[in-house]
Symmetry: C2
Subunit: 299 residues, 2 copies
Amino acid sequence: MSVLVVGSAALDSVKTPLGEVTDALGGSAIFFSAAASFFAPVRLVAVVGNDFPLQDLEFLKARGVDVRGLEVADGKTFRWSGVYHLDMNNRDTLSTELNVFESFKPKLPPEYRDTPFVFLANIHPELQLEVLNQVNNPRLVMLDTMNLWIDIELPALKKVLAKTDGVILNDQEARQLTGESNLILAARGVCKMGPKMVVVKKGEHGAFMISGDDFFAVPAYPLELLFDPTGAGDSFAGGLVGYIASCNEFTPAVMRRAMVCGSVVASFAVEKFSVDRLRDLTREEIESRYARFREITGF
Amino acid sequence: MSVLVVGSAALDSVKTPLGEVTDALGGSAIFFSAAASFFAPVRLVAVVGNDFPLQDLEFLKARGVDVRGLEVADGKTFRWSGVYHLDMNNRDTLSTELNVFESFKPKLPPEYRDTPFVFLANIHPELQLEVLNQVNNPRLVMLDTMNLWIDIELPALKKVLAKTDGVILNDQEARQLTGESNLILAARGVCKMGPKMVVVKKGEHGAFMISGDDFFAVPAYPLELLFDPTGAGDSFAGGLVGYIASCNEFTPAVMRRAMVCGSVVASFAVEKFSVDRLRDLTREEIESRYARFREITGF
């Protein structure tokens, strides 16, 4: 089954202790699409400027990503630049140029409206609501957000949360959204806002999921070399939602395997800059690392 | 097989957001013994003052803890008092009175010298070395330490590390000891100092182990109510070493199950003040939570 993603497309300039890259393919919708496309057909909605290197998306098209929803607007593409500290857990944003993303109004092509799986990447909650107004009875709606919207757009965020089936947050966001310092209570607090499924990402500490009565925890893959953490969260979401879409059911077993698929794809995404590692990644490599997750957690 | 533990016995005064307790049973050797005694006979070496309520140790004796190595010295017992912040991840030490612990020189009763499993709880590394000089060819020596000794007694600590089979550290200590920010590299760096087995504890994020070629990660039990984190690390070590001693072998399967046993006992220890939850804990409760660990990690 197909997955719709609505989010950002960007050109990222990133500096890490291991190197740097300028105007590289980035943005939540791009990372998500690259990750999800290993599991399910993807329909992309985002906006770029007329400076965007559209040919860089060929590898996505080749993997079944439908880019008819990618609007090319007059102006410059959204640009983000940042630098990661030595420990890779912290980064400083050097600049954010919204450019054409500033006036982004998601418009779904008519043939996208019946997409059964919907991922609302991190954009303004009002825009997330506008996307939901354009889809017809999706089977599953999942959402990402960020500290900024929790700070300044909480009522709109709560409105969209009430309409979603699942939410993927990091630990700080879960605590900020609920005011609970205990992460388990924070996740349960988010459930009370609407979503049946809450996934809390904890970076190097892995992730956990509360889904109805089910609880599942997965460690992060033990990477010795983290090359560039940019896009890890969106890649995780792509693997997770893509896997669920490929199964088209919501049993605890599917949700758990989806958490592992998300972890697997995210662990590859951070091995190179931009989406580079997701370009040449193979199905065999994904399956091999999935098996490795079983090995490192079984007892 | 028996386990020898050498560490502190203390009277703790602890304040948490959920209550407070004064002069309660504490100290690394006491928590360790209470935890390990569910799995194996324990031999305790520590020192207390003549103000120590020896009758409070009856529950340990009843569970097979040999307290002949508990020295009663003239003076007051080691006292620690601290207050936990709302998020329970941080605490402030209000006072530390070493008292009789200041001049503690571990003296093993002759009948302890052949104990096959040895746990050197967090004491001065020179004292840990003195303990090793008093045991005859132990099968397994494991060690705990703290930031203080890494700061001021690194040469002695490295000397004892070179003589141990395994070490249990928290994430900050592993980073501090090696200067590596990546935790996997930090753990491997500790391995290079001698121990074949390195366990890194991460509090609410669980723990992982590198043991020879094996890697294993376990999440923390999803507790909604953390009553008092004091002694969690020593309880974890007690469950872990106690389980290994009960198996008397060092296969990856045993080491992994030991990690889960440590996590199980630690998750109970923090449910009440002091060792109170470990007093009335039953074998059935341990087995039930062990099974629950399988449920929350399986996929």
